[in-house]
Amino acid sequence: MGGKEIMIHDSALGPHQEILTARATDKKILGKAQDGGIVTALLVYALEKNIIDGTIVAGDGKEAWKPEPIVATTKKEILKSSGTKYTMCPNLAMVKEATRRYGLEKMGIVGTPCQIMGVRKMQAYPMGLRHVTDKIALIAGIYCMENFPYDSLKAFIQDKANTTPEKVVKMDISKGKLFIRTSDDETAIPIKQTHGYEQSGCRYCMDYVAELSDVSCGSVGAKPGWSTVIKRTDVGCSLVDSAVEDGVLEVTETNTGKFGLEMLRKLATNKKKQRVKNVDKALDLGLEVPFTRSDLKEDILENR
C-alpha cells in the first residue's frame, strides 16, 4: 500500500486516518454477524495472518443474551461469538487471564468505547498488570450510544416484545429503534422508550465511536448490511488495508451526506453535548466523576 495518510484530528469522531464503508466477503460471517461483519472478519483475518494469536470477545454466557467474556483462539470461536449483545460484558476482566491461562502473546481485544478507554489507561499506567499490556496487539472498537444492564434487556424482551430471551434470534438498533426478532416475529421499540433503562455510568460517556481504538466500526452511516469503518492507528490502518487487498473486506462508496457520515457525526456530537451536561451536573452535586467541567474544556466535544 502507498504512503501513510496523516492523522486527522477530529473531536467528534476521534483521531483517524480514513473512514470507509465496507462489509465482509465471507457469507458465513455476514449471516451471523451484525451489519457488515467487519469486526468478525478482521479478527479472523488477523488470526490467520498471525497478527493476533487469540482475542477477547463477548461470548455466550449461561443465560440467553447475557454474554460473558471469552478468549477465542480459533476462527470457529470467533464466529460463534459474533453479533452485538446490547448488555454489558466485562471483556477487560479477561486481559490477565488471556495471557496466563491461554498464554496469548499477541492479544486482540474487542470492546465498547469505554472498554477501549480502559485498555488505553492500562497501557499508560499498568500498575497491576504484570506482563499483560506488552502483549496487546490489536484493539477493535464498536460504536456505542449506551448500554443496558441485563435486567433492562430482559424487561424489553419480556414486557415489550412479550417473549423470552431464549426465543430471541437477533437484536439490532437501527433507525432510532431497538428491534427484537424471534423466528416468527419482530418487535420494534423506539429508543426513546428505552431511556431510563440504560446503565447510569453511560450518562457520562463522551465517546461514541471508540476514539482510542486501532480501528472501530458500526452500522451508522452505512447502508443496510454494510458498516462504517474508521481506520485510526497505523496498526488498524495496515490491518484494514491488507484485509481489503486480500479480498476479506469489500469496500463500497462512502455516503458523506445526510444519512451517511453526516449522520455519524451528528450522533457523536449529540452524544457528547448531552453527556457533557451530565458531567457538569454530577460535578455540581459533588460526585467523583473523572471528567472535566465543560467550562474548563477548550473543546467541549473532547473526551476528557
Binding site: 487471564e97 469505554c114 478507554m117 480502559g118 499506567y125 500498575m127 497491576g128 454530577a282 467523583e288 473523572p290
Partner: protein
C-alpha cells in the same frame, strides 16, 4: 537477583565518566529501603535489569541493604521504600524518619508502602516477633511524595516511572503524587467511589487488576469478596472510571 543489581552498580562505576544523561550533569543518588514487605517490589524492579542497565548507568545507588555496603544513610535525591512501617519496630520507624530527612523525593514503592497492603491484617503474636502487630502505610508517619501501588507493581510500571523520573516528565508522575492522599485501600472502594457515584460502566478492568481474585464481575458490576482482599488498591487505581489520564494516553499514542 541482588548480584545482578550489584553488578549493575559495579559496571556503572566503571563507566562513570561516560554517563552524563541527566541534565544537571550529576548522577541521581538513589536509595532503596526495605521495611515490612515481601521483596516482591524489588524483584519486579530487577526484572527490568536488561532494559534499564543503560539508564541505571545514569544513577548512583548510594544506599540499600544488600545493594551497597553502606551503613550510614547518606543524603539521597530519591529514596524508594518498600513495605509498610511497623510501629513496634523502633528501627523501622527511625529509618523511615531519617530517610525523609535525608531525601528530596520519598517514594512509596508497592502497595504495602502505599496503603499498608496485606500487612494491615497483622495482629501480632506470630513467632519470632510476637510484639510486631501494627503496620501502617508510610504516609501515616511521614510525608510521602509519590505512591506507586501494586502487589507488586508490574515491571512495566516501574520502568515507565523510572524513565519518567530520568526525563523529568512530571506530567506522567502526577497521578502517583495524588495517590499519596489515600492512606488505605480496600476492594469496597469500588462500591463507594465508583458504583455509588453512578459512574461504573461494567468494563471489568478492576477484576483484571486484582491480584487475588477478590474482585470478580457479576451481572455487569464488580463483586467483592472481602476475605480475599489484600488491600492493595489496584482495583480502584486501575478502574477505567477512577481517574482519566487522557493526556498521557494521547501522548503515548502519538496523538498530541
Amino acid at each position: 537477583m541482588f548480584d545482578k543489581l550489584k553488578n549493575m552498580i559495579k559496571s556503572e562505576e566503571n563507566t562513570k565518566t561516560s554517563s552524563t544523561k541527566l541534565s544537571s550533569g550529576k548522577k541521581l543518588k538513589i536509595g532503596y529501603i526495605h521495611l515490612s514487605g515481601c521483596t516482591g517490589d524489588l524483584m519486579s524492579f530487577t526484572e527490568n535489569y536488561d532494559e534499564l542497565a543503560d539508564l541505571l548507568d545514569a544513577v548512583d545507588i548510594v544506599y540499600g541493604q544488600t545493594l551497597v555496603d553502606c551503613w550510614e544513610m547518606p543524603e539521597m535525591d530519591i529514596v524508594l521504600i518498600e513495605g509498610s512501617v511497623c510501629l513496634e519496630d523502633e528501627h523501622s520507624v527511625k529509618e523511615l524518619k531519617e530517610a525523609r530527612d535525608k531525601s528530596k523525593l520519598l517514594v512509596a514503592l508497592g502497595s504495602c508502602a502505599c496503603t499498608g497492603g496485606f500487612t494491615v491484617y497483622s495482629k501480632g503474636g506470630q513467632r519470632a516477633q510476637p510484639q510486631h502487630s501494627s503496620f501502617l502505610a508510610l504516609q501515616r508517619l511521614v510525608k510521602v511524595d509519590m505512591a506507586i501501588p501494586g502487589c507488586p507493581p508490574s515491571p512495566q510500571i516501574i520502568k515507565k516511572v523510572i524513565l519518567a523520573a530520568v526525563n523529568s516528565d512530571m506530567d506522567y508522575l502526577a497521578p502517583f503524587m495524588k495517590f499519596t492522599e489515600n492512606q488505605d485501600a480496600c476492594g469496597c472502594d469500588l462500591q463507594k467511589r465508583i458504583i455509588n457515584q453512578s459512574i461504573c460502566i461494567g468494563c471489568g478492568a478492576c477484576a483484571a487488576a486484582c491480584p487475588t481474585r477478590a474482585m470478580t464481575m457479576k451481572d455487569g458490576r464488580p463483586s467483592f469478596n472481602c476475605d480475599r482482599c489484600v488491600k492493595c488498591g489496584l482495583c480502584y487505581y486501575q478502574c477505567t472510571r477512577s481517574w482519566w489520564p487522557i493526556d498521557q494516553i494521547k501522548k503515548e499514542m502519538g496523538l498530541e
